[in-house]
Every structure is written in C-alpha cells, then in structure tokens.
C-alpha cells in the first residue's frame, strides 16, 4: 500500500503534534493545593501593626494584658510581646534592657544587665532614652514557616503567622530562624509559641489585647488592603520603619520614630 505512512513519517509527524500540543500546555502552571487555597481566599484583609514609639511610656500594660489573654503563664520568663528600654549616654554608651519582658513596667531607673547586675545612669549623662514595644512581625516572608519541618506553623491568608499546637514537634528550628526573638517554647504545651495579633480576637472584629490595654495608643492594628483604614493610611503616608530589613523577611509591624540603635 503506497499511501501507508512510513515509520519515519509517523515519528516525524507525531513529534510535530506533540511539540505543538506541549507549547500551549507549558503555559499552564502546576498549582500546589496551598496556592489554590490562597487564590480562592478573599484577600480583602492583610493585617498590619503600627507602633508609635513616641507614645510608649513603658508601663507594660500591653505585656500584662497579652499574658492574661493568651494564657502564657504570668511568671514565665518569656512573652509574646515585650517592651525594650534604650538608654544612650553622652559618652556614646548604649544600654538596653527588658526586665521580665517589661511585664511590670519600667519602675526602676537602673538598667537591668542580667548577670552583670544593675546599672545606674545619672540623668544628666543621658543623651536620649526611649521605649520600643516588640511583637511578632508577621513577616510576609516568614523564615519560621520556611524552616518548620512538619508544616505546623503557617501563614494564614490574611498574613498572620500561626502555630498548630497539635502538630508542632518542638524541634525549635523556628525559634532559631526568627531574627526577632519573637518565638519561644510554651512552658505548658512544649510547642512553639508566638504572637498571633490575638487572632481569636481580630477575626471577630475585636482589637488585640495589647492594643486595647495600651493607655496611650502606641499600638494600633489595621488592614493594609483597606485604603480607608487609618493604620493603613498612616503606614502609607507617614515615615515608618521596620525592624531588621536586611533579613528580607518583609515585616508587617511598622514603627514610627525608630532609632538607629534599636536592635
């Protein structure tokens, strides 16, 4: 039969067909289930935090409220949020502390140097002194989520990084990976513990405990995706800074009045 296709022709033609089919197919993307889920979710909310360091007086109400709200044992020497005090002296000296995570406020003018004891600084020697509240930065590129070997910690679609206490194995890799020291082991559950922006509250329309407890409005939470949100507006229009930008984590806690000495 003369019109029968030879083997060579068959291979040639099928190669063309396969290549022709593959070109448009290559435009498709293989989506991971997590990504599909993320695409399906309403991205109307992206939580962000604004800290105005000028307003912080170091009373520690935020830490107290956080511990009580989130069941981190009151006397445990770790906390989801804390306040740091910085004292810069005229001789170029740098001193900072956060005794008991500032749970009881800074009632002592001496700087707590841990093993090195307490340091008294005369008021006239001080150049500047200020307080910096700290909490989880709910990074856009969280290194803690990247390193979790079991996927027990994850970023929610609204940007908050959460920990599944029922799945965390307690290896501590996330604690090591966090450049902000935001994580610790929960003394009761023995799982990784961190600030969640009080996820159980914000998802119900309430403010986080620390925001509510702050008497001076130094702490605020808002939705970056809402142009009318006052916090989002402040972050967009004011001069704000973030902590440790060099790590490429894209922190979502923004600071007004961030000093170069803040660690």
């Amino acid at each position: 039969m003369t019109d029968a296709m030879s083997r060579r022709d068959f291979l040639k033609k099928s190669t063309v067909v396969v290549a022709g089919v593959l070109v448009p197919v290559a435009a498709f993307e293989i989506l991971s289930p997590a990504r599909v889920q993320a695409l399906k979710t309403d991205d109307a909310v992206r939580w962000a935090f604004l800290v105005d360091t000028y307003k912080c007086v170091g009373c520690g109400f935020c830490v107290k409220a956080c511990k009580l709200e989130n069941e981190v044992p009151y006397d445990a020497n770790a906390s989801r949020t804390w306040v740091e005090r910085y004292v810069l002296t005229k001789d170029g000296g740098f001193h900072a502390d956060s005794p008991k995570a500032a749970r009881d406020g800074f009632t002592d003018s001496r700087v707590d140097l841990n093993e090195s004891g307490q340091l008294s600084i005369k008021p006239e020697e001080i150049d500047k002194a200020f307080f910096v509240p700290k909490l989880c930065n709910q990074c856009d590129k969280p290194p803690c989520v990247q390193v979790c070997p079991v996927g027990a910690t994850f970023k929610a679609p609204d940007g908050v990084v959460l920990v599944d206490r029922t799945w965390c194995i307690g290896c501590g890799y996330c604690i090591m990976a966090c450049p902000y020291g935001a994580r610790f082991f929960h003394p009761v559950y023995h799982t990784a513990e961190k600030c969640t922006f009080c996820y159980h509250r914000i998802t119900k329309g309430l403010s986080p405990a620390c925001v509510q407890a702050c008497p001076f409005g130094a702490r605020q939470i808002g939705n970056l995706n809402d142009p009318n949100d006052p916090v989002a507006e402040a972050i967009t229009n004011e001069r704000v800074g973030v902590l440790r930008k060099e790590y490429g984590t894209r922190p979502q806690v923004f600071y007004i009045g961030l000093d170069r000495e803040v660690r």
Partner: protein
C-alpha cells in the same frame, strides 16, 4: 519554666524570649551523623575505588556505620519537646525545611547501607545457615542463630561463583550510590545551620562543606580507634589462649595480627590526614573571611571567639583537636600508641567543633549586645536535665557500641578466622 531557661545564663542585653534552646543533643546530632557519613566513606574507598590496603577496615567500617545510623537519629528524638510526634516529619514533611529532608535522606541511606551489608555478608549467612542446619543436636542458642541466619539469607542460598560475582557488582553499585547520599546526609546537617540567616555565626554557605569534611575526618578516626581496640582485644585473647593451652593450634599469632594492624592503620591515617588538612583549611578560611569582611555582627562574634570562647575554639578545637593530631600523625614511624592518642584527639576536636558551632552560635544575643552562657546539666535530677545533659549525651554515645556488640555476633566483622 521555659524549656531552655534552666541552663541559660544571660548577660547584658538579651531579648526576653532568648534561651539556649539547642543544647548538647544538637551537638551530638551532627557529631553522630558525621561518624556515620565518615565511616561509610571509608568503607567505600575500598569497595568503589578498590584501595586494597583498606580491605581489612572496610567491612568493619560498614558494620560500624550501620550501628551508628540509629544513633544519629536518637539525639534529635531526645531533643524534641514532643518526642512522640517525631514521626510527623515523615507524615507531613514540609520540604522548604532542611530538617524535613531528614526522613527521606535517612531512610534512603539506611536502605543503602543495609542492602550493601546484605550483599557483603550474604555468603556468610548462607554458610552459617547450612552448617547449623546440618548440626544434629542443636542447643537453644544454635537454634536461635540458625533461625536468624536463615531469615537473613532471604531465601537466597546460591553462593556459586557467578552469584558471588553478582554480589560484588551490587556492592560496588551500592557503595558508589551511597557516597553522594552519605555526603548529602551530612551536608544537609550543615545546611540546617548554615541556612539560618538570623544567626550570625551559622550563616555561611561554607557550613555544609565544613561539616562534610569534619564528618569524614571524625568517621575515619572512629573507625581507626574501634579497629585498634578490637585488634588489641584479639591479641589479648590469643595471648590468654596460648597461656592456658600452649600446645593448641591457635589460628593466629600475635605478631601476625600486629603487622596487619599497623599496616592498615598506616594506610588509613594517610586518608585521615588528607581530610584533616581540608577541614582545617576550610574552617580557617571561614574565620579569616569573617574577620576580613568584618560585617556588623563581627564585633560581637569576635568577642565570643577571642574572648569568652577562646579556650574552647582555639585551644581545644584548633590546637588540641586539629594541629596536635596533625603533627602526631605526620611524624614518621607511626606507632599504634601514637595513633590512639592522635585519633582520640581528632574525635575530641570534631566534637568541640560541633560544640562551638551549636552552642557558640547561641552564645550571643540577636541584639548583638548581649551574651548567653550554657550551663551543661551534669547530674540528671529531672527528665529534662537527663535528656539535655551529660547523661543523655553519654547514652547517645554508648548506644552504637552496644548495637555493634550484637552486630558483631551476626556479621563476621574481623574476617573468617574469627571463631564465634
């Protein structure tokens, strides 16, 4: 109390949540993994590259490697805050994490070592099984061994020349495939540390390579030490046998064992030296590079390296653990006694290197303005101080040798002349 708080002393400005969370078990983990990888590489030098002089130590090293394998997993398990959930790593591995690869790499490696051992000792299993079967009145122990050996043959009783030839081919393939896996197993242990960008001491792309080199060094050193110890025991046994029955035909003479021993040790020590020089160069390169570039974290790093941890880093790790054994092994006319001192120091040096990386990396705060000191729990007075203290570390260290004792009953580690 926060886990980790018990053994952490803070000085100056340290963040409230910072503690030494990774303690001695995380020092033990890369140390034991390193021994696994190193002993495998040593055995592969014979099986793959056909370095005949290493024949005596090659199969020994492989059995030791198999004994060390479960021990490499133990410190991780003991360190976990929720050890019963350890299996989650296998169930939901999160592959962006370096630790998640553990399950896959470890299982692959385990399978490779186990099958290589099987091909290596298949003939022995068959011989033992057949000879025990023929024995008319078996004791209970003999029955047990008969069952074990018969099970270990996996029903393959063909030990004719072509079959043995196929075994050898399989061993070569497995040993070759095993080298990259062994290096990967340890390289990723280095990656676990090297990729932590938050830690100024750990973060360097050199970390996996440094870890691999020191792993090979420690693995070879341990094989040499264990080899010498077992050879000395054999010499002692021969000596005792001769004293009891001078007329008996003991198969070996002490001098014979001794000459085999020293030639194997001399050959192996050359490979040890080769890798040791590599390890020293890489570690010094890393140190010099950090000092030269002097980025922000160098201020605090240098106070740790040259101040607080000077003895641990420069005296114990570099001095006693690297340069002293380097000189000891380089001096001509190597003796067994000098080798024992040398390889013990090498093992100690590699342990100190792990210590200085893991604990040293947590010796300073994220603020770069404070320090943390690790107070190693010596006397266990609670589960936590046992797990993450001296007692836990010694348990991990002893475990592979207990296993090895039982393995040696099944695998003829010391060649055919060893009578069970």
């Amino acid at each position: 109390m926060i886990p980790g708080e018990l053994w952490t002393l803070k000085d100056l400005f340290v963040l409230p949540n910072e503690y030494i969370y990774w303690s001695i078990q995380i020092v033990m983990y890369p140390f034991m993994t390193g021994l696994v990888a190193g002993s495998f590489v040593l055995s592969s030098l014979y099986h793959v590259f056909g370095i005949k002089q290493l024949k005596g130590i090659a199969s020994f090293a492989l059995v030791l490697c198999f004994a060390l394998l479960p021990a490499a997993m133990l410190p991780l398990l003991m360190h976990l805050q929720n050890p019963l959930r350890g299996i989650n790593v296998m169930m939901t591995p999160h592959f962006t994490s370096a630790i998640a690869a553990f399950g896959v790499v470890f299982s692959t490696y385990f399978a490779i070592v186990a099958s290589e051992l099987w091909f290596l000792y298949r003939g022995h299993f068959v011989e033992q099984s057949v000879s025990l079967k023929k024995r008319p009145h078996k004791t209970l122990i003999e029955w047990l061994f008969y069952l074990i050996f018969t099970a270990l043959t996996l029903g393959s009783f063909d030990i004719t020349e072509p079959a043995r030839h196929k075994d050898e081919k399989a061993i070569r393939v497995l040993a070759t495939a095993g080298i990259p896996v062994a290096l990967f197993l340890h390289g990723y242990a280095g990656f676990i540390f090297g990729s932590v960008k938050a830690n100024a001491l750990w973060m360097t792309p050199l970390m996996p390579v440094i870890f691999i080199m020191s792993a090979v060094v420690s693995g070879i050193a341990l094989c040499m030490l264990a080899y010498i110890v077992t050879m000395e025991i054999r010499k002692l046994l021969v000596f005792l046998a001769r004293r009891e029955q001078p007329q008996t035909h003991v198969v070996e003479r002490r001098e014979e064992i001794k000459s085999v021993e020293i030639s194997v040790i001399k050959m192996t020590s050359r490979y040890l030296l080769f890798f040791l020089v590599f390890a020293i160069s890489l570690e010094l390169l890393d140190l010099i590079f950090r000092g030269y570039t002097g980025i922000a974290s160098w201020d605090v790093l240098s106070t740790v390296l040259f101040g607080k941890d000077f003895v641990k880093v420069f005296v114990l790790q570099y001095g006693l653990g690297m340069f002293v054994p380097l000189i000891l092994l380089l001096i001509p006319g190597l003796t067994i006694r000098r080798t024992i001192v040398g390889v013990t120091l090498v093992l100690f040096g590699v342990f100190m290197m792990r210590w200085n990386v893991v604990i040293g990396g947590q010796a300073f705060s994220l603020t770069l303005a404070g320090y943390m000191e690790y107070v190693l729990p010596v006397i266990p007075h609670s589960v936590e101080t046992f797990r993450e203290g001296v007692a836990g570390a010694l348990t991990v260290l002893a475990f592979p040798f207990v296993l090895f004792y039982f393995y040696a009953k099944i695998f003829p580690v010391f060649g055919s002349s060893e009578s069970r």
